[in-house]
Symmetry: C2
Subunit: 436 residues, 2 copies
């Protein structure tokens, strides 16, 4: 190899694959470091509140995993996942209307790895993935890591807009783009918190069918509703046209890294091969522990506990926003982890972040959720992890920062203070504000 | 999407990425299904004998993971792995002469996932990976899944042959090939069982340096020596030119899916980003459990136990081979899991496999370990999993099959029985036989 010419030089610089050009540190990643400081109230990140999980239930599942199933749990397993866990996954998915066979399920290292495997299987350089705008940041990272182009399609308070989707598809195709996947988070979307209505789910499926586009339905939050369940999963009415992703990260614990995909037969076979190439087999230990937990604990009641925890936190955040930032607008989420807050249009959420951290509050700037630079004056607030008291304190600090920015702007303005509330411009793909 | 026209048709057939053309079920994979039948003595696969692990040690590590570290172990973690586990990994690697910093280590989902991440980072379609012939089957699968070409380089009883490596590099470059990686398993190689001598390690590093090729040093078996430790790791003397892979699958348990990579700084940064895109973070639970195990158990003594188990099994296999198949030849492994058996040249190991399974013994045909069709008359025998009695019975059955094949061949031959021992042809990349 070439001798390194200094500590900052990379002797392998010219050796990387072209796809690494799309691989860069996300804004969320940098935030994780900031958010880990104990004095900062982090409204960034999406860490579930695992402390709501009774230690006894996890402990006894772990003990039985070692004592009763050690020879299996410590060993390599099938690239598709254990039959026991896949049976349990069918029970979990039945809650959202999905009927499938154990053979349709592939266990993955979190649903994140299912996103990675689907991307590896389907995306050639230059292919297009249509995604909601805004969308889950690390899904966008994965698509781009396979040199695909992400094209956003607009959302409103009922989720992605079918007519806008038709137009997006037509526009991409007119420009010669090869559309491989439609990536959607229909229930309690990350980062907007909105839910795709049943009527629209049917319309979106019909559009995908007409246009020969595979739907990648990512559903980490569907069971975490606060009042009414969301509409049933799109996979409940469409087997051949949907690859469905689920996870135990939100209803149990992300530290186990177990998720799954449900896919049409031929896609499922390829997913298993890709899974074997990537990790040989998903963790037998984690799968056995989860099977033991699901087989003995009242896991449905535990999900109810999580729902209560997150509802209380959502309520704390919404009431704090109403008190502290009454002139701003946000979507009211009926489940999940996130509130999407629109800032006055003169504010830049990313530029404001260092000042927020100085005030000991962290959030995720809206631009993180767009592949195209959108989201400049929006921020995602997570209510999943901090307690209600910390959420209120975090919003109070955030209000200090935002109001300070606005005062600063008005002092620099020759025309006096800016009027509040500011008229919100709506770039394509951003929800019209609904005041909480 | 197109309507499926029958249960065997794949409506998404035209949608897959080009790289999926290289993704097919391996011969080893089919064997796993066969080998799982209890009446079959499986000398295929590479499952470690996890029952040699004291249940108490694993149980108490699992209990402390939940009781004392639950909030961390159940949560998302860093894409690089926990600092605690990376510290322990430094202790493990010190046994093979490696000095590194915690910052140099990236924890992965088994070392298999480090192979996947390295391939994703370095391999463009058409790039060349040079690998020993034969080599680890699922490494070859991963390289090909990124549309790289695997070119084998010859080995002998001291591991890969430096002069042959020079010639291979020159040949590939003369043909316009872009060589990205040299993949090697220097100690107790899979599948041949041979070990690269210290002198050759230095020569190979020098060749790589001169030719600007990054060495991917895969070392799952180095600590599982039977008498003398193997030479120190190549990474012990070369930091910039080597990416080193280690794993807990053989010294602890594969069901936890924890391995690691040690890489030069810039490569390590990219590995972390690729790891985050693929799985967000390696399992906090598995990492914590392993840290607890390493922090409290006498893990060095436990590795001694594993050494004793595998040495006894290696001895059982070699003595059974000497008794049952004295006319054949094999390499004597000084560590690891495998014996590479040369068949008479008229036999085809793959074609013979169904008859072996009928006799209730399974092995891996040599062709699985070549990207180019080599290894037709060789088989890999694993002594890691079955007890010595089963190994002896397995070799007895294998001898029945091989002798039956030879009798059959001689009956079909017009010239009477074939002479035994047969002169062994040595295709490039195959070890000269050393009779055990």
């Amino acid at each position: 190899m070439a001798e390194p010419q200094g500590t900052n030089l990379d002797p392998w610089y010219s050796h990387y694959a072209q796809r690494t050009a799309g691989l860069s540190a996300s804004e969320v990643r940098a935030l994780f470091a900031v958010a880990s400081r104990p004095e900062v109230v982090s409204l960034a990140g999406g860490m579930p509140y695992v402390s709501a999980l009774p230690q006894d239930l996890v402990l006894s599942a772990a003990e039985r995993t070692v004592r009763e199933h050690g020879a299996v749990a410590l060993q390599y397993g099938s690239g598709q996942g254990t039959p026991e866990l896949r049976e349990h996954i069918l029970e979990v998915m039945a809650l959202e209307g999905i009927r499938a066979s154990v053979d349709d399920v592939v266990v993955t290292t979190g649903s994140q790895h299912a996103l990675e495997l689907m991307s590896k299987l389907f995306l050639d350089p230059g292919d297009v993935v249509i995604a909601e705008g805004p969308s889950y940041v690390t899904a966008l990272t994965v698509f781009r890591s396979y040199q695909a182009e992400v094209v956003h399609t607009a959302m409103d308070a009922e989720g992605l807009v079918p007519e806008a989707l038709r137009e997006t598809i037509a526009r991409v195709r007119a420009a010669g783009g090869r559309i491989k996947l439609l990536y959607t988070i229909p229930s309690f979307q990350n980062p907007m918190g909105v839910t795709l209505s049943w009527q629209r789910r049917m319309e979106v499926l019909e559009i995908a069918r007409q246009n020969d586009i595979l739907v990648l339905e990512d559903n980490p939050y569907g069971l975490l509703y606060f009042d009414q369940p969301p509409p049933q999963a799109m996979r409940s009415v469409e087997e051949q046209g949907v690859v469905y992703l689920g996870t135990f990260s939100k209803t149990l614990a992300p530290g186990l890294r177990v998720g799954w995909a449900v896919a049409p037969h031929a896609v499922r076979e390829k997913l298993v091969l890709a899974n074997e190439a990537a990790v040989l087999s998903p963790s037998s230990f984690a799968q056995t522990l989860i099977s033991e937990y699901l087989g003995t604990a009242d896991w449905r009641a535990q999900i109810d506990v999580f729902r209560g925890v997150y509802r209380e936190r959502r309520d704390a955040m919404l009431s704090a926003l109403g008190e502290q930032l009454p002139s701003l607008s946000w979507a009211v989420p009926d489940g999940g982890f996130y509130v999407w807050l629109r800032l006055p249009e003169h504010l830049d959420a990313k530029a404001m972040l260092p000042r927020a951290v100085k005030e000991l509050v962290a959030y995720t700037p809206g631009t993180a959720f767009y592949a195209d630079g959108g989201g400049r004056n929006a921020i995602r607030l997570s209510f999943c992890y901090p307690t209600p008291d910390f959420i209120r304190e975090g919003i109070r600090r955030l209000a200090t920062v935002i109001n300070g920015e606005l005062t600063l702007l008005s002092e620099f303005s020759q025309t006096g203070p800016l009027p509040l509330p500011l008229p919100a411009e709506r770039p394509e793909g951003v929800l019209p504000p609904s005041v909480g």
